[in-house]
């Protein structure tokens, strides 16, 4: 795991995007990510799931990180996940970064689904549809979310015991 990840992050992302924190641009980012996922070999459902996870992650940065300010930067990096040395399936790796205030990664958790109320679904959805989800503080300022989804692998939550 470590080796492949280190490898991926050492090379330049194939797409690197800076977008301002305006909900107006959410559709552009998710359509881009969905279209790239398709070319990388994901099926309809997989593309939708990746687009949804990125959308939810951006919404959270805008609402919680930037308190809905529309003019702050969000960076999105994208790597195709090549067939790993360990024979892992190909897929996509995404990094979403901001320069908002930092929060302890273990404070970021979705609510229990039993408690039905308007919010608290974003993190749950992201974890449900992606294979790897890792929140971290960036070196100086802001947060970093790393997302991985592999082709033909069922999301973590669908696997028994995970």
């Amino acid at each position: 795991m470590k080796t492949r990840r280190a490898q991926a992050l050492q090379t330049e992302p194939h797409i690197h995007l800076r977008v301002c924190s305006d909900p107006l641009y959410l559709s552009g980012v998710r359509d881009m990510v969905g279209a790239v996922a398709r070319r990388l070999g994901f099926d309809d459902l997989g593309c939708s799931q990746i687009a949804l996870a990125v959308d939810e992650a951006l919404c959270n940065v805008i609402r919680h990180g930037y308190e809905s300010a529309a003019d702050r930067p969000i960076w999105i990096s994208l790597w195709p996940e090549a067939l790993g040395a360990e024979g892992a399936s190909p897929g996509i790796t995404l990094l979403i970064e901001d320069e908002a205030k930092q929060i302890e990664p273990d404070q970021i958790k979705g609510r229990e689904l039993e408690d039905i109320r308007p919010g608290g679904l974003g993190v749950h959805i992201i974890r449900e549809v992606m294979d790897e989800v890792e929140f971290a503080k960036r070196e100086r300022v802001g947060m970093r979310l790393r997302l991985v989804k592999r082709i033909g692998e069922r999301p973590a939550e669908e696997r028994a015991g995970a």
Partner: protein, 115 residues
């Protein structure tokens, strides 16, 4: 890139208010839906139907808007019914395990029919 409109179509049918949003319901467009539902609630119809046939995509801000609406109509004599979701939209209700929480019908006909 499905067709989007900046207003949500509204039609009154047999005591029901039918709201027909179009395009994507995401953080930038869910306030439109929220506003339309609030307005419909004010008229105290027996039923508010949100017809999702022209909605190609919904994220958790759309879900949140609908959960909030469901809480607000409870006990007011107005029923909230959703209908005609495409697979992509249905998937997010499933992930959030909200299919049971809402009254969901296959199409507008069924949503307007009694049950």
């Amino acid at each position: 890139m499905s067709q989007e409109s900046d207003t949500i179509a509204r039609e009154d049918r047999d005591g029901a208010v039918v709201l027909s949003p179009s395009g994507d319901i995401d953080m930038s467009r869910s306030p439109l839906l929220r506003e339309a539902i609030t307005k419909a609630r004010g008229d105290k119809p027996a039923r508010i139907v949100v017809d999702l046939v022209d909605v190609g995509y919904m994220d958790s801000s759309g879900l949140a808007t609908l959960v909030e609406a469901m809480k607000l109509v409870r006990g007011t004599g107005t029923a909230l019914v959703l209908c005609a979701m495409n697979e992509r939209v249905r998937a997010i209700f499933e992930i959030a395990r909200l299919e049971q929480y809402f009254t969901i019908r296959a199409d507008l006909e069924a949503a307007l029919g009694g049950d």
